[in-house]
Symmetry: C2
Subunit: 203 residues, 2 copies
């Protein structure tokens, strides 16, 4: 199906705005997943893959970077709601959201490629981090700080380090863990080892 | 300095075997670091950058994959010797080697790019993992198993999960940690939190 008519009147079959937007986002992700790095990616290639005109893209995004940031952000699931009762439970909820996300093969692949280019596209990376990574970090930090305040966690806990341990473990699992999906109880097991510690209980 | 003479006799200044090998490895890493993905990388481009003939490369490596695996392996520091006395100390030694490695900016960049292509080059990734990642994993596993056996670690510790926690934390740090280098005492702090746990001591 070609979308643009040759006449001046808009053809009746023209996809509605959201439909075109979705096609553009999908085309962007597909092209990255197929190995077209962010540098090589062009609005032209995206337009052609999405079956839309370049102006349709430029009407929504002022640059390739903006479009890529939006496309990558769609790969992130929304932050899960937290019960706010037990710190252990909230940590499991947050880590389990990371686990679920990593089950998306294409998402993983695209994210790997995009992030590997961080050094070459610092502005893009920074915006993506602000948009999609920071809200999760903030949620994790808040839960940990709540735990320190409530006594569920050590009073002297280095919260930033704790964040690195929890997120890093899930990141490692999604990179090196079983290709056919991470175990359902992974988040719970990680949180329990990390809370209790690897050393034997004292006494 | 140009390396190849124009005459037929070998110029006296022609680099010896190891020198050519080093130039080829460096050229490979440079090209990857500059953004030429593994797919686009060609023996031709490497030869031209290294200032050697293609046959010089083919004499040592039968394929591009072999050369890339060797080049990536040079980015990994050798495994540090372990004292074998305290499990805590040996874990710190292993994690500190990961920290030191991530201080190498080009190495980090190249590794990111190469690993981002894992999905597209499974054979290459597998060989690299066997060559450069497995020995470290084995060392980490041995230390943890020794700790379980000696009672320095919990008898019911999930060693595979513990490996993911320790390596993942360092991986996260080298990806998201401060760009100007990771703190000197990072490995020690990570090991201590992970051994003691984030929960307050019982009793």
């Amino acid at each position: 199906m070609t979308i643009q008519g040759t006449g001046t009147a808009r053809p009746a079959g023209r996809p509605r705005s959201e439909k075109a937007e979705k096609a553009i986002i999908e085309a962007t992700l597909d092209l990255i997943a197929e190995g077209m790095g962010v540098s090589e990616l062009s609005i032209e290639a995206i337009a052609s893959r999405a079956g839309v005109g370049k102006t349709t893209i430029y009407r929504r995004w002022s640059s390739k970077e903006d479009l890529v940031v939006d496309a990558l952000a769609t790969l992130k699931a929304p932050l899960p709601p937290l019960a706010g009762v037990s710190v252990r439970d909230d940590l499991i909820t947050l880590l389990d959201a990371m686990r679920a996300e990593s089950g998306n093969r294409r998402g993983r692949c695209v994210m790997n490629i995009a992030m590997s280019e961080a050094d070459r596209h610092p502005r893009l990376t920074e915006r993506f981090v602000q948009r999609a990574v920071e809200p999760r970090r903030r949620a994790l930090r808040e839960v940990l700080e709540r735990g320190v305040a409530s006594g569920e966690l050590r009073p002297d806990l280095d919260v930033t380090l704790a964040m690195a341990i929890l997120s890093g473990t899930m990141m490692w699992q999604s990179k090196w863990g079983p290709a056919d999906g991470l175990p359902e109880d992974l988040a719970e097991r990680v949180v329990d080892v990390v809370l209790a510690g690897m050393a034997p209980p004292a006494g």
